[in-house]
Amino acid sequence: MRAILLLLLAVAVQARTVLVVTADAPDFVLAAGGAIAAMAAAGDRVVLVRVTNDDKDSWNLSPEETASRVKGEVERAAKLLGIAQVHSLGYRAGELGGVSPTEIRDRILFYVRLLKPDAMLIPNPYAEYVEVLDRHYTGMAAEEARRIAALANHQPPFAEAGLSTHVVKELFYYAQPFDPRRREAESTATFAPQPKVVDIGSTFDRKLLAAQALQTINYSMAMRIRKRLDDTARRLPLLDVVNEDSVRKLVEINVRKLGEIAARESAYKLAEEFFYSGPDFQVPAKLR
């Protein structure tokens, strides 16, 4: 009995709150789903803030229908990863370039002060996205939100409402491997976030299920590949028939390969890549 109590106490002491910020439905799953599932499995309370409503990327569905379906699917994917709560901010997908960066920042800031996370996972704003720049805008806003959450002069009304300042100790920047130079270390190991590869061998299956739960976007991805191939007189045998099975298989190939790409030059088989800044990065090594 005593041992169990001690164990519970230990878990309670170690359990952290983790805030995941994502621009769109697939990005946090594909780039960080394995690490998120591992944190949740270790007892961390993980909360997701989803900035856009994903209303654009579908096949033959209206924006309204798309947004409504994807919301349900993201919530299912989040649950599969062990995420406790999902907050959707509802900005229209692909239009963050027309929204004030400060406004997005302060929406995220609210959740940082409310939840007081020990760690944040945010899109890497510097990951050289060519198409989906919502990830860049969201990453910029989240990076700023993390910083100003600690500064009392930002959003004083939040303090009036009981939301006090907060320092987030750990920050993970995630991105799918678009940037060819993402493995290059930043210049100063002390103060700048550094590359970090995380083993996802034990949570890969959950990550895959979460990715497969995003059915609307997955179907759209498969149909877009199919259309491009049809238009250019080519075919992919897997997509000769686009149905639930072939789409699930396509997603599996994608998620597995992303895991292998991230695991390159590491001791792991399947991994995710981050840029990471933890408590150690706040103080130069020789002064620690």
Partner: protein
């Protein structure tokens, strides 16, 4: 020493870029801010000449009004630059110029989504197989218009393919169209923000057209004053360039600019194991799916 030499050689070879091929297709679009952006030293006159030579129909979207560029004052610069841009476009074998007419060097402040909507409409109308533009991640460019248009172009090539983006365009009979191939340029000598992944080999004819297209922008390049000052400096040092003999300052200026374009094309060529080249960051049709590109390359077959 031998080891060091070997290392140097290896490094030199390691830096050579693979040679790009022109992707199969019919239509190409150059989307840039300024009248001369399709013909500068760091691209893309040679590549455009290769596309048009391969039978591509191509259009130049020039987003700004170029009022600041040149010595004729605001309204006159607009006109000179547009005319010269049209002339350069013809030399390269392009079909024409769309002028969006945003205020030159003030594009940072314009609504991104409005500019993007214009580009999406033109992409849906012409359905380009390839788009050429600035790299949205190029560092140290210093030009607000380059950044703005690069970003709008990058979003547009993807979003033009989504039916839920500007569904009103479908009322015109236009269909969604995702642009499969991109060739992005940046001032490659300016830092690490842009890393070209392909070299485009050019032949003599393509380099000559590139030279002529560049020099067509007489409002901003090849000024007789530049040639005059170079000649004066040479004379003061007791030197002369034989090719200038009997030439006016105007003609000498054209010659200097043509040499410059020849030199930069040879330089990029020698860096990449060919006589003439330009370098780009090429984005291929499935690069937006980094986890699927290998699988698609290995398993897609012709019908």
């Amino acid at each position: 020493m031998k080891a060091a030499l070997l290392l140097c050689t290896t490094l030199t070879f390691a830096q050579q870029l693979p040679l790009a091929t022109i992707p199969p297709g019919k239509t190409m679009m150059v989307i840039q801010p300024h009248h001369d952006d399709h013909t500068t030293d760091y691209g893309m006159g040679g590549l455009i000449a290769r596309f048009t030579g391969a039978g591509y129909q191509s259009w130049f979207i020039r987003s700004s009004n170029d009022e600041k560029d040149g010595a004729h004052g605001y309204p006159h610069n607009d006109m000179y630059n547009l005319r010269e841009s049209e002339a350069a476009t013809k030399i390269l074998g392009m079909k024409g110029v769309y002028s969006l007419n945003w205020r030159n060097d003030y594009m940072d402040a314009i609504p991104l989504l409005e500019l993007r909507a214009q580009i999406i409409l033109l992409i849906r109308k012409h359905r380009p197989d390839a788009v050429l533009g600035h790299d949205p991640w190029g560092h140290y460019d210093r030009n607000p218009d380059h950044r703005k248009v690069a970003r709008a172009m990058a979003e547009a090539v993807w979003m033009a393919g989504l039916a839920n983006v500007h569904p009103e365009h479908l009322e015109l009979g236009l269909q969604p169209h995702r642009v499969p191939h991109l060739f992005l340029k940046a001032r490659v000598d300016y830092g690490r923000g842009h890393r070209p992944n392909v070299a485009v080999e050019l032949n003599e004819d393509q380099v000559r057209r590139k030279q002529k297209a560049y020099v067509a922008h007489r409002n901003v390049y090849a000024s007789p004053g530049m040639a005059r000052s170079i000649r004066a400096q040479l004379q003061a040092e007791g030197l002369a360039v034989p090719e200038f003999a009997g030439k006016t300052d105007d003609e000498a200026a054209v010659l200097i600019e043509e040499w410059y374009m020849d030199w930069i094309s040879r330089k990029r060529g020698s860096e990449n194991g060919v006589k003439y080249a330009e370098v780009y960051w090429q984005r291929r049709e499935f690069d937006y799916l980094p986890g699927l590109t290998d699988y698609l390359n290995a398993n897609v077959v012709n019908r």
